[in-house]
């Protein structure tokens, strides 16, 4: 080819041309993929009720672009109004990594925040819920009293900005892990799984999973964790419960990326070891599973993190993939305490994993129960978001659509996979809220 020949060559090596240095450029393609259709903005539950919030398109690609300009622009304060519901991800027709951009921007914003400000410490305390919960669960009865003691809550609101409107969730008198250890741990689970496999005539493939219970089903709702164990063992799965910390969900939402990375290292290390031995990682909380699957590989570079991401599943999803749940449930019925109607709310973080219709589909044909979807609105609490005094009203306004739908559904019990959505459902309607695993347990075990 002569020098004057301008026809591009066919070799893929020439394309694309590396115009930008390799570092820092990884979000550029995300910004470039945005063609400004604004579909994300029409999906944002915060922008829906708060006209001052500029929406995900600004927080992501537009802010990223502004930032490229010689450091003139700092991250806008409005990044703290994003609740990290992550709905914009599944709305985008062009695969822009919106929440990765938001998480990165929020991390940068918090890095620049005064480390002595009350807000910083309030957010840090809220996002490190595991540490408070661990302390409280040593003395659960005292904690349950103290945490909802009126004058104390008044002081918390005035000094820390934690809303006094909400009741703190009760701490279990026995944590899930305490129950698990007392029951005989992994050895007992293996024994029960073997028995079940024999009963089912199951031979062959290894059936073993590592349970990521998260903080909430450990300290607050151990009945969800117990249901997970019993249902899985019923299908012949041996369960192990490895060392684990917070999944990071509340930390991402508060821009506390250092805290999240610290805990992610522990989680990735224990899960990837087990995955190497043939285990899959199972979470009963849809925010925990989303963190391990999506946010971990997007935000951190930890040995084994991709492997953990690809082998993590939500608990009911995994059974749906590997067992004939439809067949099992078609022969089952529910009697007793859970024989009733449920108002089901799909958490935003379940949507991002394609799980929003799973519970309704699964329980649709189950004798003895009715499960009605209460619509596609966000519950509004978004983890720690609705606990902040300055966000409480917005949180309740976002949730109002869900509350209305719950009240018009033929049920007085709620159902959801997400512990904080459950808090909000209970707070807005007074309903008791159950987890789909509890219904599976009642139907199959």
């Amino acid at each position: 080819m002569s020098d004057t020949d301008t026809t591009p060559t066919e070799s893929d090596d020439d394309y694309p041309i590396e115009v930008f240095p390799e570092n820092d450029a990884d979000l550029r393609s995300g910004a470039d993929d945005c063609y400004k259709c604004s579909t994300c903005d029409t999906n944002c539950p915060v922008a829906e009720v708060d006209d001052d919030f500029p929406g995900p398109k600004f927080q992501g690609p537009e802010q990223w672009r502004l930032k490229q300009n010689d450091g003139e622009h700092a991250i806008d304060d409005s990044i703290t109004d994003c609740s990290n519901c992550m709905r914009c991800d599944s709305a985008c027709p062009s695969d822009v990594p919106l929440t990765e951009m938001h998480n990165t921007a929020r991390g940068e914003y918090v890095e620049g925040m005064s480390k002595t400000s009350v807000k910083y410490w309030r957010n840090r305390i809220l996002s490190n819920y595991r540490l408070s919960a661990r302390a409280a669960s040593v003395v659960p009865r005292l904690a349950n009293f103290a945490m909802n003691f009126g004058p104390a809550r008044w002081v918390m609101e005035k000094t820390l900005g934690v809303t006094a409107e909400r009741e703190f969730p009760a701490f279990a008198t026995e944590t899930f892990r305490e129950w698990w250890e007392a029951r005989g741990g992994a050895a007992e689970s293996r024994r029960r799984a073997e028995e079940a496999r024999e009963r089912r005539g199951d031979t062959g493939a290894d059936k073993k999973v590592a349970y990521f219970h998260g903080c909430y089903s450990n300290y607050n709702t151990p009945e969800v964790g117990k249901a997970m164990i019993r249902v899985y063992e019923q299908f012949g799965y041996e369960v192990v419960v490895p060392e684990q910390r917070c999944s990071g969900t509340p930390m991402f939402a508060n821009g506390m990326l250092d805290d999240a990375r610290r805990d992610a290292k522990v989680n990735v290390s224990s899960m990837s070891d087990l995955i190497d031995q043939g285990y899959d990682a199972i979470a009963s909380c849809t925010s925990c599973s989303l963190a391990l699957r999506q946010e971990y590989p997007e935000l951190f570079d930890i040995d084994g993190i991709e492997e953990v991401s690809e082998n993590t599943f939500e608990a009911v999803e995994y059974l749906r993939i590997h067992e004939d749940l439809r067949e099992e449930l078609s022969g089952a019925d529910i009697e007793g305490e859970l024989e009733k109607e449920f108002a089901y709310h799909a958490p935003c973080h379940a949507r991002n994993q394609g799980l929003e219709r799973q519970a309704v589909e699964l329980f649709g044909d189950l004798e003895g129960v009715g499960v009605e979807d209460v619509g596609d609105s966000c519950s509004g609490i978004s983890g720690t978001y609705g606990w902040k005094a300055e966000k409480y009203d917005i949180s309740m306004e976002i949730g109002s659509e869900m509350f209305e739908h719950m009240e018009s559904a033929p049920s007085e019990t709620g159902m959801t996979e997400c512990p904080t959505c459950a808090m909000q459902m209970e707070h807005g309607t007074g309903y008791e809220v159950r987890h789909p695993l509890e219904l599976l347990e009642a139907a199959l075990v």
């Binding site: 066919e10 893929d12 394309y15 259709c37 604004s38 579909t39 903005d41 029409t42 999906n43 944002c44 922008a47 829906e48 006209d51 001052d52 500029p54 929406g55 599944s90 709305a91 985008c92 027709p93 699957r293 999506q294 590989p297 991709e306 991401s309 690809e310 082998n311 993590t312 599943f313 999803e317 749906r320 993939i321 590997h322 067992e323 004939d324 749940l325 439809r326 949507r351 991002n352 994993q353 394609g354 799980l355 929003e356 219709r357 589909e361």
Partner: protein
């Protein structure tokens, strides 16, 4: 492998929804898998069948023109009766108008052009160009996608047989400058004072206009109510001018079709892409990428409705054009400089890229044999037609979706 269906539809746009609806209504156990939220919210919400002939001639009766289309056109595969059948189903699950006649309706667009279309939402009815009475178009200062005076001038230049005036007013609802269209819709739905104030701002500009067109933001779930409330105050008919994404008429259509699909008993999953398949002469299962884990969904019959070049159902690389899920054959000129014309509005080859099929909409390989016994294709993933030039995108999706879904449901495995 435990996720099983008789018919599995890949893609949640108009073609996929129609295919799944036909299949579920025919009694097959049907599952629809869509990567993202439906792309219908990016569409105008108008349902065209055929607006222009391949020579660019404006068509009054789209059905009469179908037999004259090139044989490669999907309408030739489906046939006129097939198109009518699909539209009848569409009419039965939506509140759309236009079914009383075979003739195209002419609907003014936000650019001031007139689009020939077979069906339109009730909100667009009062805007039809075939109505002879005078029209006023109203834009809002902050919704820059719709420049009413310019659109009016454009319509006048096109020679519409009535007077059109365009005016821009400030929206009274105190919204931020770049508020999402859903915010406008919610404010108009919830606040009587905003509706009243808006009518007051518009009224002095009406002149003799008997109908008033607004950007398509007049309510979300209660669109009819907002339109009527404004009409009462203005003493004129009110209509919405369809516009680009995000589009409330498209969103309303999406809701209607998902409701119909749910009522028909279909199972729906949104959020994960289909990335491949297992099988040889038959598709045994499709592979769904669940955050990095490829999970097989078994199905007896599969409908491919992933869209065209824009919807990522057809992909181009520098050397080739391909269909990424099943790697179906996509005919295209070898030299990529033959894929397009230099004239921007020329007769581009790429506009017709897509799979070719047999009479049952089974994609064909390079030798003209079905790629798989049990795979059918519908919508923009099909080749042989230029939907943008001839205004046939929605109609082809409906007609081929209906045929593919019906055939898949009725086929004995």
């Amino acid at each position: 492998m435990a996720i099983e269906s008789e018919v599995l539809v890949v893609g949640g746009g108009l073609a996929g929804l129609t295919a799944a609806l036909a299949s579920a209504r025919a009694g097959a156990d049907t599952r629809l898998v869509s990567h993202k939220q439906s792309t219908l919210r990016n569409a105008s919400g108008l349902v065209d069948v055929l607006g222009y002939s391949p020579d660019g001639e404006l068509l009054s009766d789209p059905y009469a023109a179908i037999p004259d289309l090139p044989e490669s056109h999907p309408y030739r595969t489906v046939g006129v009766e097939g198109v009518r059948e699909a539209l009848a189903v569409f009419d039965s699950v939506t509140d759309y108008e236009g079914g009383h006649t075979d003739r195209n309706a002419l609907v003014p667009t936000h650019g001031g052009t007139v689009k020939p279309t077979a069906r339109y939402p009730p909100g667009a009815a009062a805007g039809l160009a075939s109505r002879g009475d005078d029209m006023a178009l109203v834009g809002f200062e902050a919704t820059t996608d719709f420049d009413a005076p310019r659109a009016a001038a454009h319509l006048r230049a096109a020679g519409v047989p009535f007077d059109v005036r365009g005016v821009t007013v400030e929206f009274p609802g105190d919204l931020r400058a770049d508020a999402a269209v859903t915010r406008y819709a919610n404010v108009l739905e919830a606040e009587a004072s905003v509706r009243r104030e808006l009518a007051e701002r518009v009224e002095p500009h009406l002149g003799d206009a008997a109908r008033v067109g607004f950007p398509a933001v007049l309510g979300n779930e209660e669109a009819g109510f907002v339109r009527e409330a404004l009409a009462d105050r203005l003493g004129a008919d009110v209509f919405e001018v369809p516009s680009g994404p995000p589009s409330l008429p498209g969103l309303r259509l999406e809701d209607a079709l998902f409701d119909a699909l749910t009522d028909a008993g279909a199972r729906i999953e949104t959020g994960n892409p289909v990335v491949g398949y297992e099988g040889d002469r038959r598709v045994e299962s499709v592979l769904v990428d669940r955050k990095g884990a490829e999970v097989p969904y078994r199905a007896d019959r599969v409908v491919l409705a992933t869209g065209g070049l824009v919807g990522k159902g057809i992909e181009t690389e520098r050397g080739a054009v391909r269909e990424p899920v099943f790697d179906c054959h996509v005919p295209h000129p070898e030299d990529r400089y033959d894929w397009f014309e230099d004239d921007a509005f020329g007769d581009h080859a790429f506009a017709r890229f897509g799979v070719t099929t047999d009479d049952g909409l089974r994609p064909l390989d390079a030798d003209g044999e079905p790629e798989f016994e049990n795979l059918r294709a519908a919508g923009a993933v099909l080749g042989g037609y230029d939907f943008a030039a001839e205004k046939s995108g929605a109609g082809v999706s409906l007609a081929t979706g209906h045929l593919a879904g019906t055939a898949a449901a009725e086929e004995t495995p």
